[in-house]
Symmetry: C2
Subunit: 299 residues, 2 copies
Amino acid sequence: MTVTPGLLKPALKAIAEDIDHSFDLLLPIPGDPRDRLVEAMRYATIGGGKRIRPLLVCATAALFGVSREAAVRVGTAIEAVHVYSLIHDDLPCMDNDALRHGKPTLHVAFDEAAAVLAGDALHDFAFELLSDPATSGDPFVRIELIRTLATSSGMNGMCGGQMMDIVAETSSFDLPTVTRLQQLKTGALLGAAVEMGAILGHAPIEGRSHLRGYARDIGLAFQIADDLLDLEGDEAEAGKALRKDADQGKQTFLSLLGPERAREQARRLVEQAIELLASYGPEADLLRELARFIVERDH
Amino acid sequence: MTVTPGLLKPALKAIAEDIDHSFDLLLPIPGDPRDRLVEAMRYATIGGGKRIRPLLVCATAALFGVSREAAVRVGTAIEAVHVYSLIHDDLPCMDNDALRHGKPTLHVAFDEAAAVLAGDALHDFAFELLSDPATSGDPFVRIELIRTLATSSGMNGMCGGQMMDIVAETSSFDLPTVTRLQQLKTGALLGAAVEMGAILGHAPIEGRSHLRGYARDIGLAFQIADDLLDLEGDEAEAGKALRKDADQGKQTFLSLLGPERAREQARRLVEQAIELLASYGPEADLLRELARFIVERDH
């Protein structure tokens, strides 16, 4: 299937604006001694990032005719979890990164205590948002959204993958273990974004397995592309430090497959992801373009 | 009303056993590279702490005939949030504490990265647990539990209070501000424990305001007692470093009221809390004893 070109660029622009607006609205400065906490939360959430996860929620939800407003709200919750994980991941005791989205990381701009607390508060904020009746009048939908997010971000998802990533620095993982690591570390939350869009749309369970496959494939492709960018990318464009994996001697898709086979594998995953959308018409073109963007992006 | 003595001691013993058992059951070692994460979560959750929050959930839920099993499950979720907050609070960039419940803090026993991640994973674990149908067959109950927990622990609850506590080190707060700080930092989660017990019991909204008042009063009394223990307590019995507030010159109930008025205020709050239970018979005796214990405990 050929893909209508040109849907993605305006979609990325629109979601960036909507998510910024949403955080701005939902995180007002309280005007009391908690100000510094909310200022830190705003610093980390407003005006940065590609907003891939909210875009996945919105693009999937749109397949089922969900209102943009509801999808953006759910996208804001999942982005809050993504941002909290970046804040904690950037801490000196974790990856010790000083730059993120081209600006100083939160613990550099504020301090470490504020970074720990702002991360924790954003983590709660996501669940507060999803449990609010304004997200969906249907409590079954809200519970399913919460369960999907909590499962994909905890010990059996993102946090589990982050610990595997730490262990990888001192162990020698094989390809299946690196694949599992990446499926947990980044794949789980990307998959949750698609799943949450489908939940919002009351998509039948059987219809979700293809979408889940799509998310799994683009998740791995995304990670391979990240590894390649870490090796070949431009630090200024990436807005963060690169060449860290090779410096640490960590096993990645790239170190195990080599750049050529890794690039080929990413392309194959994207084709596979697009094939999984075969039952959808042009309404899924944005998801198709997004899949291609993931391997073709330069930052 | 006189209080039947002797309910509290066996109740504290039983809840300690039940919560240990619950964490042990719900946090099995996966047997893969995530082991270190789950070992850290188990280290922090099993075998320590007074389990006051789970006891509040169980004692309140018992007023409404809720099964022990359901109440312990909800108590485990709220204790997971309490423990995650202690793990992060003990970090070098926060309170920098090396001792908790008489054993090395998590970042000392493991490392800082494991402490950040185990805290984050426990935070998710709480919401995973509450969103699971095994917690309650009624999705309205699950959603209300999640909303209560997320609200009481985020920027408008515990995290907000922790940031105020950091600001307090360099600002001069008056009594209303210190009261607000403590209501957020410790009161919100204690209040949530009582509220969540009432939610499990399908308690009518109007019946909950007295219970909420009880929780608010014992929360403040608890904090005053903590301040007094920080000044007068025994480090070996407390199992943690003391005399930190005075050393930092931080404004507390104690520094603002002096020990005599603070002690008197704590006693008055406990009496007031017990009066709020006047509409209950002997079934609320455990909550009454718990209120007294809070000011009389020596660790």
